[in-house]
Symmetry: D2
Subunit: 437 residues, 4 copies
């Protein structure tokens, strides 16, 4: 074991404790108040300069913020978990401007190396099965309906461990390090608002990772994730006119039929020859009574594409469909964007960087290194990644193997915590490669 | 005023009290427990022979019975309104076998003349506006969400007044009189189950009426309502397979699209050259999440036709559509019949009978008599009417004008109570015409 | 037999000859050149003042005129059948301004009584079966593909017979008589263009009739035809973009799918509570090759309604549908109106007039008189009828019973020629009733 | 130049003549009578053993054979081009059993190496533009509507040149050589019927190629074509019931709407996560008249998939759709398979073989060698290829660069004839590599 590995290994107990602490108090979406406060306190103690609230986020650019009721409930819960002297921080976060950006300037000229970690949980009620370790060992979520079943508790933990070690060995480095703790990754709702606030300004390298995808055993690494799908999430409401279905159906404007037709047409958008596209109307709710021409309808929709352009193609077709069915059925409609992110590929440079560090790291089995994979799904990281690439920087995303007890988002999800040390080790090596003095 | 008119008029105060009593305690659907008990008690006191529960109803043939929770709630409320000694009657009504059939045999050979009155209220919260008489004068519904806004409180009242007068003057008549107090008329859910139990056996004449349709002023009469629409009400549930909309959409079986297509196709069933047809999918609910192929869907549907045959044509086409979309989208489905009645026309004989009594009655303005009208809507009476006509009898339905404060089913619905006397008068005259000794 | 009946009866042989002459030389649509010339010559010989060509028709308002090739062919055929000295008349008719309006002024003040007779044949190849009388007796159509299988040959004949008798007995009458010989009734393409040219100016009464509808035997009469359906006939062409269906389907704009969707949506236009509506896409042709995104599509459409307003409702919905699908599928489209007429009912006054003459006429069996019928179909007469009613006049349409060998438009259609005398008799009686000196 | 190159080069003049000869007399589909006779005569003269007609084809397994009229016309044309003594061969080909399989047995044990060349032309009228070399130099197609605009004239030529050289140098080889001259490649209609007759029995290696795809200049090679799309071509006819669209629309069974719905649904088949899929309804023809419920409809359809399984998925969904719409609209339907082939990838072994010969050949520019490409389209060769791979053999397909004047199937298509020598050279080198004594 070289000194990097030793440093990471030495944190093991602390990392596991940290992970279990966050696991026990999950929060979702934009309302990760408690989580953010706790991250801030740690980062402060490591000597980082912090930015929060409106300094890291264009409030109006946030998507899928959630209801006032949900906000109040989340705030109340956070306050119960915090001491009154910590309440001041909550004010900065207003109605959900959670997450934090931390910076460490070495004082020496050099690149700006950024890391991004996502911090929000999922709308799942965690298992109370005795075979489920978090329950058995007492760190199950302290609330029903919310749980860290996607591993973001591990991501927070790796980020904090890495921040600590870089700070402790600040003298080894040049340039600037920036840590982005992002919320609302689920639903790909968070990256756009942060990016618009300029938090990527000056970033030369942006590194990201996810734990656990590699399934049956720990020790593997996918060095470069490609084929992120760009996506748009949007809600559609139709506004028609009710009428008695027998007495005067012609006086109605049927929102149910408009929605039904739009759903069928969206699913029928022509296949695109340039690559993967997807579309789904996942929810449709319409009408008020059996004998009434339905005056309203709601649809929850999403499009995807293997590039941002292909996703835009799908979205545009959906918009045409809505305009058309609106005309046909004489109904009004409104579209509300509630999420979305970019597509793209990891920079080849970062993929190779990750491959190099994997070959060096004692925590990675050499025959379990996979150079690249086609993701075929969505990650809010892709929006940051594409923005950095567009400004001339390099960005990439790796998947750190971890044995899982159940699939992501499953109520029994749990991961082999050895991946926490591995994650810190890999990122720390990357930092040395990119920015050693 | 002749003696018939005088008798009706003499009941006026009692009729108004009775109407307001039932108005204050509305019940809906099959759960008209309190209402039925109170009707039973009156009819008993008039000397009628009564049949109830399974004797007047094929329990399994009931449509749209309602949930166990609603049943329990309705029973609880009825018990609160009743004295314990009245509870025994509730047992006969089991889980909602409400309504009652009363008979008076004159002992003299003669026809069987039947009357039908509907007794259930509507799912509406009655107004608390000071201008609303039931509220102002203290007989507004004692519960929110249920109200007699269709005038069935008036129908009960007319039925009880008529029963009283016929019984008091039994010596004037020959043959048998039968009174059908039917529940679950709203949603056309009640007639089929009663008819199947044989309650129309031997009926030569069946008379029915509705109050209020004639709008702006009292004193008018439509003697024969024709063009009742037959109808079928049914719920459809689709059962598909969920799948990740991006990861493996092909593993799903999309119930949302199946329902959407079925809705469009049902609305597109070809117009029938033989008369009015209608179809509506009034409610569609499908799907579980934006990024999930929707595994389930629900639709509330209805068809109508100016004859029972035309309605059957529409229903059959709907069934073909469901079978077809099930095949296309690889989803299962189930159809649940929740209501339905027949179509048809009043017998010309009864229309003329009503015209004659209208010309005689001092409560009807002669220039406000309309011979017939095309109803173009549904009434559960039509099922009874068609059954009597099919067994060789005569049946018809009149509309008794009454000034209304607001339209039927509106929260401010109220009617000029003078129509109660008019109704008793018209039916009593009819009884004399058909069955005087 | 009174003198009117005797006069009609005396024409019998001539009427049959005339009918067979026109039967043998059928022409269709706007290209009834020979037919018009022959009618003109007869009317001239009876002393009528004639108007033709642009004097009775707004050329641009004609619908479904037909191709230049068809015109040339029809003209060539007419010339072969005519003598060169008759060619001059053809010039007046230009590219199909056929038909003629004849007037007889009695010189005495009185009403303007108009009669309308339609003169065009149908696109059917007449039977050569030996049992088919026109074939057996040598007056079958002299051309394949065109035949008088709707009885308009009989209508021409009745019109000419009536014109002759009125002229011969001019001294009996007052006012003015106008005879409208209209072409392009089939497809309801002719009335609008004539009406727009003002040919109904001053008309107080407009009488029309059809022979044969009453089926199995002769001798009956329907006095007043009601419920004419208004109709619009229109062609739609869609213009998209072709693309290779495998290589780059997204580059196409699919006209086939646009048309398919429009067809389904048109058939799904909501039923109207105010009366009969119809819609049909009878023809759809789209696409160029199996592996090409279809760049074009054609649809032949029609709407109908029991009133002009209901038909307009259907047409407007169709136009909305076209605009909507055009947007959805990014295709252009064009609508070409190719026919259409009004709806409406016969004036009660004329229905009663016809009933009176029927009761007088020895050619009508009294127990075969039907007061009114609901037509439920389209007749170009309705456009004239509605126009006369709108200007304060009276107009009606009767159906003169005639035993038929086969249904209208069938290749074996033939009628009992006794109806010719009956038709002349009924119209002549009507003339006396309306306008005797 | 090595001896292989010299031999190929020495044939140059003959190859060009041969190509232009076949170019001038194009035939399509199964009716390549003249073409086959001329190929047979050459192969005979080189000493090959030939099989024809029913020996190389299961007649009933042929797809898209064409009409009797087209057959008669093609035969008549072939006879005009042939001498009477050549007519005998035509009998063997019956109603279109064209194409030929030739074999040369070296007498020495060794592998069976097969080559496949396609011989049919395309339904295109060749250009008469003076800039179009075939026209300018007098070898344009001798008929309008048929032309060698896909380069199969070049394929025949390369095949014959190769056959000649192998035969001339028979002593250099071991094993058996088999030449498959296949017709009806266009529309992927021919391979299945030949494969079913057993013509691939014993084949160890099957080599194929196409000229010209590499576009702007000659001298390049794509060594291994992958991602052949499997495809199914099928026609659908719907059989409904006509009815008058106004008089009795309910008596009809609307085939037009059934087809319209099927077309929309087919285009809406869900995207498959395992790879490329395609579907197209390229032609839809339905209905007989504007006012008639359309009793019939026709659709020309195709599905594709990047594997045989994915294509089967699409086809199965289409079949479900047809069954469903048939039920919904009460119409019958029939599906006629008219073409189809497999998907798949070239064997890596053959791709490497082609790369080796390309590196050796003086006619290929080394920097214009591309290892593999994703085809994303259909080729009937894939069916043979998959069959050989399934029986344990190796098969691959290269694309030989040739400068083109216009795209494939364009009326101005023409290619740089230097590719003929190149093609012979590459195949001959392959033969030596696989089967040198």
């Amino acid at each position: 074991m070289d000194s990097i590995a030793q440093r990471a290994k030495s944190l093991e107990k602390e990392l596991i404790e940290t992970r279990r602490f966050f696991h026990q108090h999950p929060e979702t979406g934009w309302f990760t108040f408690f989580t953010t406060v706790k991250i801030i306190e740690k980062l402060k103690s490591y000597g980082y300069t912090l930015k929060m609230g409106r300094d890291i986020m264009v409030a109006d650019a946030r998507q899928g913020v959630g209801s006032k009721e949900a906000l109040d409930e989340a705030l109340l819960r956070a306050k119960k978990l915090l001491c009154p002297e910590e309440y001041a921080l909550l004010n900065v976060m207003e109605d959900g401007l959670t997450g934090v950006v931390a910076e460490l300037d070495t004082g020496r000229p050099g690149p700006c190396v950024a890391f991004r970690f996502d911090i929000d949980a999922v709308d799942v009620t965690e298992s109370k099965d005795l075979a489920h370790r978090p329950f058995k060992e007492g760190f199950r979520a302290d609330i029903d309906g919310i749980a860290h079943t996607c591993g973001h508790d591990g991501h927070i933990t790796i980020g904090l461990g890495l921040a600590k070690l870089i700070s402790e060995h600040k003298e080894d480095f040049k340039g600037v390090f920036r840590f982005i703790f992002q919320t609302a990754e689920e639903g790909t709702r968070g990256a756009v608002a942060m990016e618009k606030a300029g938090i990527l300004k000056g970033v030369d390298y942006l590194l990201g990772a996810h734990i656990g995808f590699q399934s049956k055993k720990s020790g593997g690494l996918i060095c470069g994730v490609n084929n992120f799908l760009a996506t748009s999430k949007f809600d559609v409401t139709f506004h028609g006119t009710s009428a008695h279905a027998a007495g005067a159906p012609e006086e109605g404007a049927n929102a149910l039929l408009a929605a039904a037709e739009a759903a069928l047409l969206m699913h029928g958008i022509t296949r695109h020859s340039q690559g993967i596209t997807r579309v789904n109307v996942g929810v449709l709710r319409a009408g008020e009574g059996r004998n009434v021409i339905a005056p309203n309808a709601f649809m929850a929709c999403e499009t995807r594409g293997v590039t941002t352009e292909l996703n835009a193609f799908m979205k545009e077709k959906c918009m045409n469909i809505l305009e058309g069915v609106s005309k046909i059925h004489s109904v009004g409609y409104r579209v509300k964007d509630v999420g979305g992110t970019s597509g793209g590929d990891s920079s080849a440079f970062i993929t190779e960087l990750y491959e190099k560090v994997a070959l060096e790291s004692p925590f990675i089995e050499k025959d379990a290194i996979v150079k690249t994979c086609d993701f075929g799904a969505c990650e809010d990281f892709a929006h940051f990644m594409q923005a950095v690439q567009n400004q001339g920087g390099q960005s990439g995303y790796m998947m750190i193997g971890a044995k899982l007890e159940a699939g992501h988002h499953n109520q029994c999800f749990d991961f082999d915590e050895s991946c926490l040390v591995t994650g810190v080790d890999l990122f720390l090596r990357s930092a040395y490669m990119l920015s050693a003095k």
